[in-house]
């Protein structure tokens, strides 16, 4: 089984140095790419059927194709790696950055070359101190080796890359809010259109992709799009995916598996099933802002299409498992308090609706719930539906809640009628 992204990661968790990375075939993809035209590289990526790994699964090559190219294109373009990774339960990008920073850097250089960017930024979550240190060391090595800076490997193409560490807001993971933060402004999302490909960082054409997305690029270039498509089990996209599981499973971890591995396989085989004494009640397949699935959904493939058909989203592919001894209302409360705190405060539904939702859930947990509360919660899931809010934060926040109300409604009702949470002792 191919594990291009993680196979060379060392067991002790130390990062691959430039030499070690080159020994694994590192920067071969870049050498190949620089011999092609940007349009040819774009075509390779298109054939690989690579889809964005940040959660939305947008075809990467299509995203890039909207960047104006040619002589009339703006002279300054930017490329940004979204390493904000603040989605609760998600820790895949951290692994990639901490253990193989050159893979990311190489992917970014190839991507920047494809869109003709002259400046690139790695936007990193505030808490990732170790990753920050290792990225800086790797950037230093890459500059010294001539992979970054002027005239990269004699190709005539120049690119600079810098690290920007966030000050720690979940909303910075939203690509347009990230751009505002990078500009030193309030991290409020922007309206689209105009899309960042047209007016992004400092109003210039900009591509923002997830860390994991960029990490795929060197391998696609090095081994070809056919190989990349062949290692996937999904119809909808190529390659492998970093899946993870947290919660009361036997082996919580991250695994690189073919895109489209089934949910059951991930939980039962890779995570080793539930810990003794715990039963699986539900799971969030791709981070906190996805709808609950239940053991009934074990057979679905973890890819963008099948999870969507089951009423959720693959999101980041990092599963949060809820067992039978954890209160679903309490879990929703925990999540909604997080989302309420992380709202940027720009649009009304999110700014006002999330705190209200969290207060209702807190009341339920503390035994102060009223029979109308369930209707109020349902109202909020409709009120903050996609399209109603300025960005996807609040609709994402409503996904676990709306599915919890569907699958675990009896728990909500019991909280209200018994005025207590039975999971608390």
């Amino acid at each position: 089984m191919d594990r291009p992204l993680t196979e060379h990661i060392k067991n002790d968790g130390s990062p691959l140095s430039l030499k070690e990375y080159e020994a694994t075939g590192g920067y071969e993809g870049l050498r190949k790419a620089l011999k092609l035209t940007p349009a040819e590289v774009l075509n390779v990526v298109k054939e690989s059927k690579l889809r964005g790994r940040g959660g939305a699964g947008f075809p990467t090559a299509m995203k890039w194709s909207f960047v104006p190219m040619g002589d009339n294109a703006p002279p300054v373009k930017y490329l940004v790696a979204n390493g904000d990774e603040m989605e609760p339960g998600t820790f895949k990008d951290r692994l990639l950055i901490e253990c193989n920073p050159h893979q990311l850097i190489e992917g970014m250089i190839i991507s920047a070359y494809t869109i003709g960017a002259s400046m690139s930024y790695i936007f990193l979550r505030w808490a990732y101190h170790l990753a920050a240190k290792r990225v800086l060391e790797a950037l230093d090595e890459a500059y010294k080796a001539g992979y970054l800076g002027k005239n990269i490997l004699g190709s005539g193409y120049s690119l600079d890359m810098d690290l920007h560490t966030s000050v720690g807001r979940y909303i910075c993971g939203e690509e347009t809010a990230l751009l505002n933060a990078l500009e030193g402004k309030r991290a409020n999302p922007r309206n689209k259109p105009p899309f960042p490909q047209v007016s992004g960082l400092f109003g210039k054409p900009t591509i923002v992709n997830n860390i994991e997305t960029y990490c795929n690029i060197p391998h696609i270039l090095a081994k070809g799009p056919e190989w990349y498509v062949s290692i996937s089990k999904s119809e909808g996209g190529g390659g492998t995916k970093l899946y993870g599981a947290s919660g009361k499973v036997k082996r919580p971890a991250i695994w690189e598996l073919p895109l489209g591995t089934t949910l059951g396989e991930i939980i039962e085989e890779h995570a080793g099933g539930m810990q003794d004494g715990y039963k699986l009640r539900g799971l969030l397949p791709g981070g906190a802002s996805t709808d609950f699935l239940t053991p009934e959904h074990y057979n679905i493939k973890m890819d963008f299409e099948e999870v969507a058909k089951a009423g959720s989203r693959m999101g980041t592919g990092t599963i949060i498992v809820m067992d039978d001894k954890t209160c679903p209302v309490g879990m929703c409360l925990n999540l909604e308090q997080f989302f309420a705190q992380e709202s940027c405060g720009w649009c009304t539904p999110c700014r006002e609706g999330l705190p209200w939702t969290a207060k209702i859930l807190l009341a339920l947990e503390e035994g102060r719930g009223t029979p109308e509360d369930i209707d109020h919660l349902i109202h909020h899931t409709h009120y903050m539906a996609p399209g109603n809010t300025f960005c996807a934060l609040a609709p994402g926040a409503m996904e676990p809640l709306q599915s919890a109300l569907k699958y675990f409604r009896e728990d909500f009702e019991e909280h209200i009628h018994t005025h207590r949470c039975k999971y608390h002792h």
């Binding site: 309030r186 109003g203 709202s343 405060g345 700014r351 705190p355 209200w356």
Partner: protein, 885 residues
């Protein structure tokens, strides 16, 4: 035009609009908060949600924010769809969870956009049962009250204050439900336009602190359309009264002048009207010949004495005209110094005989390259500065439009533009606030600025060799030549005829090269232009000379404090030498204590008249209320004296006399309806139909309701009786429409949102460019009249105007009088930065603390215009005598 469908009805709307704008322009009721006609769309509040449909077969539709949806051909929405209605009601419910239940004690109550929108959305029952969030409020200075608990986070304040008006001391803090709008620390808001927060805020977070001191609900106010008397721009205002006191000033929308906004001098400078130093009674010094003052004055006039009149740029056209009638053209002097009189006459001369158009205040925003010569517009005519701050966005915005970003997509435009501004070039004696948005600046004395101006002119006319890129004149000439629509801004601030001509010459050269060029002059006072057009026999200095030569003169002094305009010594001589001094004015001042007779004049609030602004636009202001004392419009007093009547003739009669005698004023007849105008049979009420307390407000005097006062001078009535539909655009006493109690009701008075008022924006331009006019005016060699240092006025928005600087809130903002010098100058005279400097010329000696301003050339010294201890001083002057301590 685009064909759009709203609830399955087809409409045609102009291209380039968003659907909210389109709906509101079509007169529909669709609630909104964050959108503002001038600030455009950002999609934050989610209140204007509608259902949008792909086509006629799409029956499901999706919730879409109308403000962010293009009104393109085929755009199809529903306002009435239940899903959209439910969303809007839910959104209001959500906004209201933290909004306090304090409408009854909130200053915004009764004219609150949030109240209106809440009712419009249908939300009424609150399901939220948890605690509300609370904030700590800030003291934002004497103008604005801050009550953050009421905030609904529409972000309009910060978008106006920072993005539109260029403020830097205000912002948005924190996130989520804790979002806070205010300053990083308590303190006075620094922007000259902070007062607009009162109108921009949809609820009671930012309210008028001056109103709060004598608070009255909107519906209990008696209001009339008025003109701001604070500077020469003639911004349209609504001023409102109750119990004989003016309560506040608000913006009266005029799409050709100030639009939706006012400066803080204009908004908060009204309080002098209520001052205890107001002259309210007829008075005379000598009661030995009887106590009937007006008879005494009438008798003096009847005795046909030798008379002179000193008229005033702060008095109406009609008042000045009547004074001219009384004393005769040869004896009619302008109550301002010779230099100021000459400079204002020069502005009139170049505008009348020059070939270049002077645009309206609103049009200033449409120019793409600007050169400011000599004028500190932020302090002399603040609203020009606000307009220039918009104009500097024009060229940068083109970049966003090239990316197909819509004109209404405010945040997206700003993203593309970033900090790019201009081009705006500023050449002034000292660093002005315009430099915050300027491309390049130059500081110099009068002759240096003239030389630069002349160089720019020569470059434009003759071309010339490429100069170093940092050569100011070359850069400016280049930018102006490349521009599609250049604008030259200048004025009387430096009190230099040559500067006025030089600015016109640059504009004239651009005009000759085929540019659509404009020229804007700031003139000193509200009716400076009107008086210049009326024509005078000279200045106050000429009048004084005359009186010192012919001692038997009766002097009529109209709305002029002589001590504000001339040196104490000269004034004392003048008063001593004139046989009788009759002062018609509104406030006690140094001059009034010497007057033989005082006739109390109405301020803008107690009089009706016409003012001519800096562009030559005649505008009418109406008396707000009939005071219960002797106060009359100045023209009415003069009319009584001329015609020896018991009562003055009507305003229309006086106006008729004026326009029949002065041809250039003929068009003023069309300015506004005359007093006989009726809608049906009804007058236009100054009070809303909800006005309360009328039967009881005088009950302490008599329980019988008195006969309401009649207004013989205008089509407005002093009561709530009358026609409650929309009046003619010049006669709008307040904005109100069913369901729209706040200032947002202006939408309903406009042909389209942001567009002209129904019936056209009021005001009549009396000066149009002369196509065969001159493009060059000879400049006399600037002759220094001795002295190493040139002393120029430093203009201050708060303080450099006679009457507004007597208003309580403004007084708190007037800075200490200081003399500005560069640190080099300071060193060369051996003075200390914490010390005092004395400046002498032949008539004055001024000693003031030092203010070090290193933007000043070393031989230029500034004294604050009009401030305490400086009044009567003539600028510019040259002196060698400056002594540091």
């Amino acid at each position: 035009m685009a064909k759009i469908y709203i609830d399955n009805i087809e409409y045609e709307v102009p291209d380039g609009k968003n659907m909210l704008d389109a709906c509101v322009s079509l007169g529909m009721d669709l609630p909104y908060f964050c959108w503002h006609p001038k600030l455009h769309s950002v999609g934050a509040c989610r209140q204007c949600a509608v259902m949008s449909y792909r086509d006629e077969n799409d029956t499901r539709g999706r919730i879409t924010m109308a403000c962010m949806l293009d009104a393109n051909d085929g755009t199809r929405i529903s306002i009435d769809a239940q899903q959209a209605k439910d969303f809007r009601a839910g959104n209001i419910e959500s906004l209201m969870i933290n909004h306090p239940h304090d409408c009854a004690v909130c200053d915004e109550g009764g004219e609150c956009h949030l109240q209106d929108m809440t009712v419009m959305s249908g939300h009424n029952y609150r399901r939220y049962r948890f605690q509300k969030r609370t904030h700590i409020n800030q003291d934002l200075g004497p103008f604005i009250n801050h009550e953050m608990n009421r905030c609904i986070q529409c972000y309009r304040c910060v978008r106006f204050y920072n993005d539109y008006a260029g403020g830097g001391d205000f912002g948005v803090f924190a996130s989520s439900g804790r979002v806070y709008f205010g300053r990083s620390e308590e303190g006075t808001l620094e922007s000259e336009f902070s007062g607009n927060l009162v109108e921009v805020c949809p609820t009671g977070v930012f309210t008028d602190k001056t109103l709060h001191k004598h608070y009255t609900r909107k519906w209990d106010l008696t209001s009339s359309p008025s003109i701001c008397h604070g500077c020469s721009l003639g911004c349209n205002i609504l001023s409102s009264e109750r119990y004989g006191k003016v309560r506040r000033v608000m913006t009266r929308f005029n799409g050709d002048v100030n639009g939706y906004f006012l400066c803080d001098r204009g908004r908060f400078g009204y309080e002098y009207v209520n001052d205890e130093k107001r002259l309210t009674r007829l008075a005379q010094k000598d009661n030995s010949k009887g106590s009937d003052v007006i008879s005494s004055v009438k008798n003096i006039v009847a005795s046909n004495p030798k008379m002179i009149g000193i008229c005033s740029p702060r008095a109406s056209l009609e008042s000045n005209f009547m004074l001219k009638q009384l004393v005769g053209a040869d004896n009619f002097y302008n109550g301002i110094p010779t230099i100021e009189n000459d400079v204002v006459n020069e502005v009139l001369e170049v505008l009348t005989n020059g070939s270049v158009k002077t645009p309206s205040l609103a049009e200033i925003e449409s120019y793409d390259t600007i050169f400011v010569l000599g004028e500190d517009v932020t302090n002399t005519s603040p609203m020009i500065a606000l307009a220039l701050r918009q104009a500097v966005k024009n060229q940068p915005n083109e970049k966003a439009f090239a990316l197909k970003i819509q004109h209404w997509n405010d945040a997206a435009i700003r993203e593309v533009v970033q900090d790019e501004k201009g081009p705006l070039y500023v050449a002034t004696p000292y660093a002005t606030k315009m430099e915050e948005v300027s491309t390049l600046n130059l500081h110099g004395d009068t002759s240096q600025l003239l030389n630069t101006g002349n160089k720019i002119h020569d470059f434009i006319v003759k071309g010339g060799e490429h100069q170093a890129d940092d050569d100011f004149a070359f850069r400016v000439a280049n930018a102006l030549t490349l521009s599609k629509k250049p604008l030259i801004v200048s004025g009387c601030g430096m009190m230099s005829k040559e500067i006025v001509r030089c600015a016109m010459n640059i504009a004239g050269a651009l005009k000759s090269s085929g540019k659509d060029v404009g020229i804007v002059y700031s003139v000193p006072e509200v009716n400076s232009m009107g008086v210049a057009m009326l024509g005078t026999a000279g200045s106050i200095d000429d009048a004084m000379r005359r009186v010192s030569e012919e001692k038997d003169i009766t002097a009529f002094i109209l709305e002029t404090d002589l001590f504000y305009r001339a040196s104490s010594k000269d004034v004392e001589n003048f008063l001593h030498n004139s046989q009788n001094t009759i002062i018609i004015d509104s406030m006690e001042n140094e001059s009034t204590q010497y007057a033989d007779y005082i006739l109390p004049a109405g301020t803008f609030a107690e009089s009706t008249g016409t003012m001519v602004n800096n562009e030559g636009r005649a505008q009418r202001y109406y008396q707000v209320f009939k005071p219960n004392n002797d106060i009359k419009s100045s023209w009415a007093w003069l009319d009584i004296l001329i015609h020896q009547g018991e009562e003055a003739r009507s305003f229309d009669t006086v106006l008729g006399d004026m326009i029949s005698q002065i041809e250039r004023f003929a068009n003023i007849i069309n300015l506004a309806p005359n007093a006989d105008y009726r809608i049906g049979t009804q007058k236009i009420p100054r009070e809303s139909h909800r006005y309360s307390g009328r039967t009881s407000m005088n009950a302490n005097v008599s329980v019988h309701e008195p006969m309401p006062p009649k207004d013989e001078d205008s089509p407005l009535s002093y009561t709530m009786e009358g026609y409650h539909g929309q009046p003619p655009s010049a006669d709008i006493p307040f904005f109100w429409s069913p369901g729209w109690n706040s200032v947002q009701s202006i939408n309903k008075y406009q042909i389209e949102v942001g567009g002209p008022l129904h019936g056209g924006n009021p005001g009549i331009r009396l000066i149009e460019p002369n196509d065969n006019g001159k493009s060059y005016f000879e400049i006399e060699k600037n002759s220094k009249n001795g002295g190493k240092y040139e002393v120029l006025p430093r203009w201050q928005i708060f303080g450099s105007e006679e009457l507004t600087s007597k208003s309580q809130a403004i007084v708190k903002r007037i800075e200490e009088s200081k003399v500005s010098v560069s640190s080099n100058t300071l060193q060369s005279i051996g003075a200390d930065a914490n010390g005092m400097i004395t400046i002498n010329n032949e008539k004055y000696s001024v000693t003031l603390p030092v203010y070090v301003d290193n933007s000043l050339p070393d031989h230029v010294i500034l004294l604050p215009y009009g401030l305490k201890g400086i009044s009567g001083l003539r600028f510019p002057f040259y002196t060698d005598v400056i002594i540091g301590k």
